[in-house]
């Protein structure tokens, strides 16, 4: 009998070309690039190298695109440096014969939203991208991880990457989530539990009945933030939810190829008895809507809690970090989270920019008005069109939200969609680091429904008080 293997180990083993001293030469099935990937192309050109397998790399512009007034294409980007980034991607992909879904393409979107949407992301594949949130794609049972510019250059030049095998961590979440509690709350609770370095050097597999019952959108949200726990990759075993999601998508296998793929995909889930280097479990029923109060994603609490004193935290490191975070965030210990006023609301990103996320926000916003400025930037142009077909855009605009175009927008704020200094933003993004949404900006991470609720009341709000029966 063969040794039981994990999902991670199976994909790893199937992609190892050769090994040496603790490292493997790993074959990369699909590589994704965006408008922040220019250093890799510059280095490649400087070394006089070409892209070895152009048909295995796919590109879209997301980081530097404006989220309003895009009708004039590239000319709509007024900042010359930002336009230069988008232009450079177009140039680099044309020179290297790479499929590029640019500013005008109806399939454009945030790379981690369109990968699954186009069916590029599939179970069993190795997927890389020059972005830390590449972990998102693991939701479909792929091994997907972010790389820096030099490693991206290596992949472009060779379609391979020297990699040290990660350790494995299984996070098991069992039970039924309560109304108003969703995938974002699950992942924030996991990060709060294990810490931002809790999964460093590990690949996480999310398992358990809660994950099995979860939609693909929810799984994508959870895998997306694996990097916020330090993990390079996060993954979920493929199942019927995965297969139903993939059927009929542009790059999904068709006809008899689908049958062959399905047969292979069904062999991928971790075997019973597969060993993991560590394991963590979580009770879904005990989770509440969760919000960050500090400047690292682990500084998160249930919305019913109060701002902690730095001395409440475990150990001098966390205490020192919390003291600085409270200063930066302008918060007083003992304040109930639900008494914290917000200045802005932002819904979108590779974490929470999918149609299900927008539906969850719309369910709260229907017939209500927001009292602070709010932006919604759908995760992709197809998500935007779908939301419009469902009439969600009208719910948002009638509530007072700005209905914008798709891009990374105010998550990384690289396109100029910044939150002004000192302002407090309820955000569906993934990082609450100092200055992340703009210099001096204060970010509270939460789910789309929670952002919608905060926008309606003007303060952090327990969305359960606004749920309709």
């Amino acid at each position: 009998m063969t040794t039981p293997r994990s999902l991670f180990a199976k994909i790893w083993d199937q992609h190892v070309i050769t090994e040496r001293e603790g490292e493997a030469l790993l074959y990369i099935d699909r590589n994704l690039v965006h408008d922040g990937s220019f250093h890799a192309f510059t280095q490649l050109a400087r070394e006089g190298r070409k892209v070895r397998k152009p048909r295995q790399t796919f590109a879209t512009a997301d980081h530097y695109l404006p989220t309003v007034g895009r009708s004039r294409g590239l000319a709509s980007i007024t900042d010359p440096e930002m336009r230069g980034m988008v232009d450079l991607l177009e140039h680099n992909t044309r020179e290297n014969d790479i499929l590029h879904l640019g500013i005008d393409d109806p399939r454009q979107g945030i790379i981690h939203v369109i990968g699954p949407e186009l069916g590029l992301t599939q179970p069993g594949l190795t997927i890389t991208c020059g972005d830390s949130h590449t972990s998102t794609h693991g939701a479909l049972g792929a091994l997907a991880f972010g790389v820096g510019a030099s490693q991206l250059k290596q992949i472009l030049a060779t379609q391979c990457l020297w990699q040290k095998k990660a350790k494995t961590l299984r996070v098991v979440i069992d039970g039924v989530l309560n109304p108003g509690v969703g995938a974002k709350d699950v992942i924030l609770a996991i990060i709060a539990k294990i810490g931002t370095a809790g999964a460093t050097s590990h690949s996480i597999e999310y398992a358990g009945s809660t994950i099995r019952a979860m939609s693909m959108a929810g799984r994508l949200t959870i895998c997306n933030m694996s990097i916020e726990a330090g993990a390079r990759a996060g993954m979920v075993a493929p199942d019927d939810t995965t297969f139903e999601f993939l059927a009929g998508r542009e790059f999904s296998p068709k006809h008899e190829e689908w049958d062959r793929a399905l047969e292979w995909w069904c062999t991928l889930p971790s075997d019973d008895g597969a060993a993991f280097d560590s394991e963590v479990s979580l009770d879904a029923a005990a989770l509440e809507p969760t919000v960050t109060w500090g400047t690292t994603p682990e500084e998160a609490l249930p919305v019913t809690a109060r701002i902690p004193c730095a001395s409440d935290l475990a150990g001098p490191d966390k205490q020192a970090h919390a003291a600085e975070a409270l200063r930066y965030m302008g918060l007083t210990p003992g304040t109930p989270l639900t008494e914290i006023p917000i200045d802005r609301a932002f819904i979108g990103t590779c974490t929470n920019g999918r149609i299900e996320d927008l539906r969850a926000a719309a369910a709260i916003l229907r017939g209500r008005k927001i009292v602070v400025p709010g932006w919604i930037s759908p995760g992709s142009t197809p998500v935007k069109r779908q939301a419009e077909a469902e009439g969600l855009d009208r719910i948002f605009t009638e509530a007072g939200f700005e209905w914008r175009d798709s891009g990374c927008s105010s998550c990384a704020a690289m396109n100029g969609d910044t939150v002004p200094a000192g302002m407090r933003c309820a955000s569906t993004s993934n990082r609450n680091f100092e200055g992340r949404q703009g210099k001096g900006a204060r970010t509270h991470l939460m789910s789309p429904a929670m952002v919608a609720a905060a926008a309606v009341t003007g303060r952090i709000t327990d969305v359960r008080t606004l749920l309709r029966s």
Partner: protein, 204 residues
């Protein structure tokens, strides 16, 4: 890539755990092109180094005269967590840093340092703290790092052995070009590719 063998240089202590790459280089500078005469050094630690008017904050460690030529940074836990931006390493290197000593690193940032010939040294958290205390007691003091023997020598001449994977060590010592290292295996890659794509035809 410039090989890294040994280095004796001024070291700057930075008492911040979870120092994320947004702090190392704020995202708004990532659209800068980088060339031989336009490095990323101006953007390193930008919002910690400079105030709203672009003036140096005198309290920030690298703005103090004794540390201006620092080539070694001594940090704490989880250095370089967050985004995959290699600009964080470019900023450190263009400023003059050749090595970072920390209790742990973000995985992607660690790989990015190696890729650029910069040495990430992992030492226990207590040791990192002791080194920072020494450096604060004697501003401008030097540390020595010998990669071959995997030893850091502190300001009191005490030695601290560190671990590093053999492959990373070799790559840094010899300044190896990783793409060339991959392409040595081209026949195996092509054979793998043929098998792999025959089994998964829809991927081609």
């Amino acid at each position: 890539m410039t090989p890294f063998t040994r280095l004796t240089a001024v070291a700057a202590p930075l008492d911040i755990a979870n120092l994320d790459t947004d702090k190392l280089i704020p995202a708004r500078f990532l659209r800068k092109l980088r060339s031989a005469d336009a490095g990323y050094d101006p953007w390193l630690f930008y919002d910690m180094r400079f105030d709203g008017e672009g003036r140096e904050r005198p309290e920030f460690i690298l703005n103090q005269p004794q540390y201006r030529n620092a080539q070694i940074l001594v940090a704490d836990l989880n250095f370089g967590c967050g985004s995959s931006r290699e600009g964080a390493v470019y900023a450190l290197m263009d400023y003059g840093f050749r090595a970072v000593i920390a209790a742990s690193f973000g995985d992607i940032h660690y790989a990015n340092e190696i890729q650029n010939g910069m040495l990430p040294v992992t030492l226990p958290q207590q040791t990192c703290k002791a080194l920072r205390d020494q450096l604060r007691a004697r501003p401008g003091a030097e540390l020595s790092i010998d990669l071959e023997s995997q030893i850091v020598t502190d300001t009191l001449s005490k030695t601290h052995r560190f671990d590093i994977d053999a492959v990373y060590k070799e790559r840094l010592l010899r300044g190896l070009d990783e793409v060339a290292m991959v392409l040595q295996h081209l026949p195996e890659i092509e054979a793998f590719e043929k098998r792999h794509h025959e089994a998964h035809r829809w991927l081609t």
